[in-house]
């Protein structure tokens, strides 16, 4: 049976694990020379970048929605 995922802002937290795993697999492949400290730093940087751009897109969509609502 599928898990009940609420349609609340809390439900959006399910985007975090998938972003973290995408970042870790991508960096595991793409790092030239593998060292754990470098790997962890690069994964966190990529993860933060993905989340940052997700927030930016969300803010842009929110702005567009508010503008469209006012017109």
């Amino acid at each position: 049976m599928p898990l009940d995922v609420p349609t609340s802002p809390g439900g959006l937290l399910w985007a975090l694990p998938i972003c973290l795993i995408i970042a870790s697999v991508y960096k595991a492949i793409k790092l030239e020379a593998f060292r754990w400290p470098l790997f962890v730093r690069e994964v966190l940087l990529l993860f933060a970048t993905i989340i940052g751009f997700l927030i930016l897109v969300a803010l842009a969509l929110l702005t567009i929605a508010k503008l469209a609502h006012q017109v």
Binding site: P2, L3, V5, I18, V25
Partner: protein, 138 residues
């Protein structure tokens, strides 16, 4: 001493059957373990969210996006096969956000493993070159 590369084709097959196994075979142990753990966690989270029924090709009656995600699971290899075999064939995929998210998780796990399969087929980077070579026989 003459060196030869480990077979990239065998590595690709191993990577398809067990995520990360291709990298382990090529001697890139840390990368292989990270890929194995990451893809398995993503796949299992997908099954936890959507139920084991998300791993079922008979569900290909949905929209184009869902069809791509269902087929993408094939690239996970053994985890997908096990999920396919242990589920009840009379139960269809559930509906709702949990099932949709589970499908996305399992599909992305398959697509990430496809990326890893392609990676083991590519020439090895400088940083790993010493790990990917085995002494030639004779």
């Amino acid at each position: 001493m003459a060196k030869q590369m480990r077979s990239p084709y065998l590595a690709a097959i191993l990577a398809w059957v067990i995520p990360g196994a291709g990298h382990l075979y090529q001697g890139r142990r840390q990368r292989g373990m990270i890929i194995f753990v990451s893809i398995l966690i993503l796949f299992l989270l997908g099954v936890l969210l959507g139920g084991i029924e998300i791993v079922d090709l008979k569900n290909v009656k949905a929209g184009a996006g869902e069809v791509i995600l269902i087929f993408a699971q094939i690239f996970c290899g053994l985890p997908t096969l096990i999920g396919f075999l242990i589920q009840n064939p009379n139960v269809s995929m559930g509906v709702g956000r949990g099932a949709d998210l589970g499908l996305v998780y399992a599909g992305v796990a398959g697509l990430l493993n496809l990326m890893c399969i392609i990676d083991v087929l590519m020439p090895v980077s400088q940083g790993d070159s010493h790990q990917n070579k085995i002494p030639a026989k004779g």
